[in-house]
Symmetry: none
Subunit: 222 residues, 2 copies
Amino acid sequence: MYILIAEDDEQIANSLRKNFAEDGNPVMIAKDGEEAIHFLNSISFDVALLDWRMPKVSGIEVCRYIRESGNKVPVILLTALSQVKNKVEALNLGADDYITKPFSFDELTARINAIVRRYQSSTNELIFNDITLDLISRRVKSPRGEIYLSGKEFDLLKYFILHKGTIMSKENICKEVWSMNFIPSTNIIEATVKNLRKKLEDDSGKNLIKSIYGEGYLFITE
Amino acid sequence: MYILIAEDDEQIANSLRKNFAEDGNPVMIAKDGEEAIHFLNSISFDVALLDWRMPKVSGIEVCRYIRESGNKVPVILLTALSQVKNKVEALNLGADDYITKPFSFDELTARINAIVRRYQSSTNELIFNDITLDLISRRVKSPRGEIYLSGKEFDLLKYFILHKGTIMSKENICKEVWSMNFIPSTNIIEATVKNLRKKLEDDSGKNLIKSIYGEGYLFITE
DNA sequence: ACAAAAAGTGAATGATTTTTCATTATTGTT
DNA sequence: AACAATAATGAAAAATCATTCACTTTTTGT
């Protein structure tokens, strides 16, 4: 996990670095806000720990700035200021958490983990049984290897998983997967289902897509 | 925003409800952990506030239980216990935040907002100037309309935006966008850059992709 | 068991995308 | 200015993907 520490107090910075290094996390240290912004613009971190009080640009300014530039890296502000209005200000400007000094390293670690977990889980992956869809790279993995799906097959599988356990009408599938508001005169859905079925069956040996005569499809759970 | 409050102290629960109601947020109150689990299983909330100490099932047990069942609702634990080991335990069990009593309502609200913002933003948008990439649907929008990109063009633009302001070598572009660890013998990168340039220029009239002779490309910021 | 409706199949078509290639243009160096 | 290296371009070829079609199989209600 790549961690950025923006902290002008060398002692604190080094103590944090040492602790993180013990857990095998590479750390980058910025001595002031300007440097922090520079690092954040060039490298992708898993989390940024920003001291409120820093030379040149304060931690809260760094936070505001990177959020405005669209950077969504999880941010935790570290500070001696324990007043509520400061906390509120920081959180409203896009920080994810706020810890007042002195803090315990264990608590910091736990808060980092909570935020990173949330950050990661809220993003990319859709998991069904032992199949994992990466919604960003659009790749599908199972313990038996990667399943190569075409674009439409991926969209369809995603739709199936999101609605697993319920009967999905062809009308709705059409609307959601093909963005068509009318039922096509061809059997395009059936054809795509066929190909998806084949690939899923090649992977797991099971047929996960059940046809409900006259109603639609059911993606079976369990 | 639908909020679940699990709190056996009626006074606290009602005070919270009143405050949230003033902001127009519907609140549901569970008097104990069992009820909280029941509500969480039947209704979808934007955030769950759980008291640690509750009859029947403690807040932390509720948290553990719902996480095990796959529920990803943001959870904040409210408690009088301020010891670090309690905080760490809670955060490691899947809570998103931890607030010790007594707390200010403003801080609670700010923390809720930070967590919900993070939960919802789910990082599926990449914004550069007035161009927005939806990383899930893989569509690109600008104030002037949608920009239709092919798969590779989208991947390349995403890579450019993520590394805007830095010079990107063809070697790295190759590795990241084409998943090839060797430099291709053809001019496939240049060809794709050309097509992407065309589409971006058709949209904004500007050439955002600068060639750095002998080094690579630069996606201009400013 | 039968007919009608619905769903499945394999192969062919059409469309789009990706890649290649030959050629032209640009840049940096001497 | 001349040269070599690098980059841009348009068009063509190759590959992939989405869709259609004719036909077969399965399911349901009678």
